[in-house]
């Protein structure tokens, strides 16, 4: 007859399990330690790299973006604080801080006209104009601006980024500098109005398959927000958006 496992056997089993677990933990610790060493090595290499290519990072937007992505992949955020190794090494913290301040200035200067809604293209145009003539001042990309604005968002400043399309093209991204998020319906209307800077209820009904009431309501909300103006002298009422109006964008 087979002996049924006695207390002793169970105890032994348990001890063996413990040993396995311990081994696993030990293994885990080892791996972890190795990983930590690797990370440290990687981090050091990254820092050396950053140091060596500091100028390139400052001058070249594409390079800068790739560098950012590389940092993000190992969980390092060069913009995390304006103090600390990274910002001192690269002055990177200051670079984005500077852009963020200028973004606020441009938005404040233009919000009277466009209701606090500006295209990324116009924003970049005005930023470049406002910054110095020095080469590195000129080379700020859409990506740089978006990163700077994202930092502003973290501070809860009422900035929001609205994508009209999947791309990051200048005219397909809008920056809202007044609190009060525009919802999905508002964004749909903006997408349609963007091309000619105006739209009508007929157009909205046709393209979005909405009914009259919904179209009118959303348009009214955009008017209430100061983002849309009414033209009562067209054959059917037209709704215009200064944010997309070229003569305004190209002015000063």
């Amino acid at each position: 007859m087979r002996k049924r496992p006695g207390i002793g056997a169970i105890h032994k089993q348990r001890v063996e399990q413990e040993r396995f677990r311990g081994k696993a933990t030990e293994l885990q610790d080892n791996v972890f330690e190795q990983m930590a060493n690797q990370m440290e090595k990687f981090r050091t290499n990254l820092e050396n790299f950053a140091s060596k290519h500091r100028n390139e990072i400052k001058k070249n937007p594409t390079f800068r973006k790739q560098f950012q992505e590389m940092c993000a992949s190992i969980g390092v955020d060069p913009l995390a604080s304006s103090k600390g190794f990274w910002s001192e090494l690269l002055g990177v913290g200051d670079f984005y801080y500077e852009i963020a301040v200028q973004v606020i200035e441009v938005c404040m200067a233009t919000s009277q006209r466009n209701g606090g809604l500006i295209t990324l293209g116009e924003l970049r145009q005005k930023l470049i104009k406002a910054r110095g003539k020095a080469q590195h001042h000129q080379n700020i990309s859409n990506d740089d601006i978006i990163r700077a604005i994202k930092k502003l968002k973290v501070l809860g400043s009422g900035f929001s980024i609205i994508s009209l399309k999947e791309t990051q093209d200048s005219s397909d991204v809008l920056i809202r500098s007044i609190p009060g998020e525009l919802n999905a319906d508002h964004t749909e209307v903006l997408k349609i109005a963007e091309a000619q800077a105006f739209t009508t209820i007929e157009t909205l009904k046709c393209k979005l398959k909405w009914d009259d009431v919904r179209c009118q309501q959303i348009l009214n909300e955009l008017i209430r927000d100061g983002v849309a103006w009414v033209d009562g002298q067209s054959t059917t009422k037209t709704y215009w958006f200064p944010s997309f109006f070229k003569p305004l964008i190209n002015e000063g």
């Binding site: 009277q112 006209r113 209701g115 105006f198 008017i223 209430r224 100061g226 103006w229 009414v230 033209d231 009562g232 002298q233 067209s234 037209t238 215009w240 200064p242 109006f245 003569p247 305004l248 002015e251």
Partner: protein
């Protein structure tokens, strides 16, 4: 030099009184500025409301401000003391892109610079003479000139007189 119209002038809704009151405020403010800038550029001292249509319409985009809109714009200008009705009929108004006080000071400074205190000038000399051709106050409307001189009289810098059948002014 060609007058440079502001971006609003080519913006069709600019000619429709806006339903959103905040937006309307911005709109009226932009109109106020446009009227003043336009008058300053073209040296318009008196605005005839009827004839001012070119200012309140843009043929290129086929839009014009309604009479209600024009009325609101003129109200804003009056509140800012930048226009003064010529009479009760409110058909014409003086446009003060410079106030009578500012005109007075400008003229007085010119007089000082030319060492012309304690002399007498006719109104004609002051606004139409060859000497003042390049001065800002050249061509100044007579009624406004009078108002300007009255502000100088109030501070004892001038005295309006009649001599030899013409209106003139002595500066002190």
């Amino acid at each position: 030099m060609e007058f440079s119209w502001p971006w609003e002038y080519d913006f069709p809704p600019f000619f429709t009184l806006q339903p959103n009151l905040d937006t309307q405020k911005k709109q009226l403010e932009a109109w106020r500025k446009l009227v003043i800038d336009y008058c300053r550029h073209n040296k318009i001292f008196v605005l005839d409301v009827q004839e001012s249509m070119p200012l309140f319409q843009n043929k290129t985009i086929d839009r014009q401000l309604s009479s209600e809109g024009i009325k609101r714009v003129l109200e804003i200008l009056q509140e800012n003391q930048q226009i003064e009705w010529c009479d009760k009929s409110k058909k014409q108004c003086f446009v003060y892109w410079k106030t009578p006080q500012e005109w007075g000071n400008l003229i007085y400074r010119y007089i000082i610079d030319k060492g012309m205190t304690n002399t007498v000038c006719t109104f004609y000399e002051l606004t139409e003479g060859d000497d003042v051709k390049n001065e800002e106050f050249a061509g100044l409307d007579k009624s406004i000139l009078l108002k300007a001189l009255e502000t100088l009289e109030a501070s004892n810098k001038a005295e309006v007189i009649m001599f030899g059948g013409s209106e003139g002014v002595k500066f002190f």
